[in-house]
């Protein structure tokens, strides 16, 4: 554990604090926080997955078919299912935190619940648009 400026010239009579490696397992909220941090890895995976998809499309039909076959493999499906769960968790925790960080003024201050709800509404709208595009308009 690092020491603060106050501790560098530490008084030997003081009992210094310590923190264990498993500190994040000691409280549910700490664990939830660490899972939120971990979810960034899966967000990065989806970004990479999208880039690989675009690259395969740009290389022609054979490459795209190979990408689809590889994506249907059990290990990639499992990875994507886990990633989806983490990305949804990331999104929900991000949206729930948004009202704490944002102060919107429209004449008076916009209530936090409305800021949170607007994020979810935008999520639904974008998802509906993507679904409309994918299902052929």
């Amino acid at each position: 554990m690092s020491t603060s400026p106050a501790q560098q010239g530490r008084n030997p009579r003081l009992l210094q604090p310590t923190i264990s490696m498993g500190w994040w397992l000691q409280r549910g909220t700490y664990f939830a926080f660490m899972m939120r941090e971990l979810s960034c890895v899966f967000v990065a995976w989806f970004v990479l997955y999208l880039i690989l998809l675009v690259r395969s499309v740009s290389r022609g039909e054979a490459s795209y078919q190979h990408f689809l076959e590889r994506s249907a493999a059990a290990d990639i499906v499992l990875l994507n299912v886990i990633s989806l769960a983490f990305v949804v968790y990331h999104t929900v925790t991000f949206f729930n935190a948004a009202p704490q960080a944002m102060v919107a003024l429209v004449g008076t201050r916009v209530p936090g619940a409305l800021i949170g709800a607007s994020h979810y509404a935008a999520w639904v709208a974008v998802s509906a648009f993507v679904a409309w595009v994918l299902l052929g308009g």
Partner: protein
């Protein structure tokens, strides 16, 4: 509700040994007693050597913060009757060096608190003859929530970032800086930004949010820090794209 309850109290007496130990005390359990009342009973009737801080007994002074059954709380606002049948484990606030028993060294926090200049700063003080600095109720509401902080340091005890990086300025000091930044009478935002925009300031916070959850005065330090990050980022963007301030 049982007539008696056991308190397991952390003891640390540097003259007696280098380790923290726990001592059990069985005390009367009265419905109206807080944990602090229980400690006062021990001090007055059982063991006068027990050391802890307290003062107002009404959630104002912020001096009786301790860990009660693992949760950082004001002991004057935590009732024994809400602790089940016991035993109730009482420890000093986490993340601070312990001086003795339940008393922690708060000098690191005091230094950090002063560094953010938690007072009204004016570029030029107007003379008294011009009267007071007036403020509307709406302007007062902007910072009122953050002004409720009583410096009890319970948020520091709950903050894993402060535990991992003791250089972190911490939740209460940043919330109090924000209290003055949002005050319409204050002109010290830039001075505080110099301290808070460092890595050990707002950017060290990873938004665990526990500081807000444990605050006994319903202050929102996590919110203050995120708002500060947002305004700092906007300031940086503005100065980058509009170096002349958009004029």
């Amino acid at each position: 509700m049982a007539d008696r309850i056991t308190l397991q109290v952390a003891r640390y007496r540097p003259d007696a040994g280098p380790e923290q130990t726990f001592q059990e005390y069985e005390i009367p359990c009265r419905k109206e007693w807080s944990v602090l009342d229980g400690l006062n009973y021990i001090k007055d009737h059982v063991d006068g050597t027990l050391a802890y801080r307290w003062s107002c007994r009404m959630g104002i002074c912020g001096s009786c913060g301790m860990n009660v059954n693992g949760e950082p709380k004001l002991t004057c606002g935590t009732f024994l009757s809400h602790c089940g049948s016991g035993p109730v484990r009482i420890e000093p606030l986490r993340n601070f060096p312990i001086i003795r028993d339940l008393i922690v060294d708060i000098s690191d926090f005091m230094r950090k608190l002063v560094s953010v200049k938690p007072w009204v700063i004016r570029a030029i003080e107007k003379p008294l003859s011009e009267g007071e600095y007036r403020q509307t109720p709406q302007q007062h509401d902007e910072y009122k929530q953050f002004s409720m902080c009583i410096n009890c340091m319970i948020c520091y005890s709950a903050c894993p970032v402060y535990a991992l990086d003791p250089h972190f300025i911490g939740p209460a000091a940043i919330a109090l800086a924000q209290r003055y930044n949002l005050d319409s009478r204050d002109e010290g935002n830039a001075e505080r930004m110099d301290v808070l925009s460092q890595h050990e300031g707002i950017w060290d916070c990873t938004f665990v949010g526990e500081c807000t959850k444990v605050c006994p005065k319903n202050v929102d330090p996590a919110g203050a820090i995120q708002r500060y990050k947002l305004s700092a980022a906007l300031d940086t963007m503005t100065s980058f794209f509009m170096p002349r301030g958009g004029r």
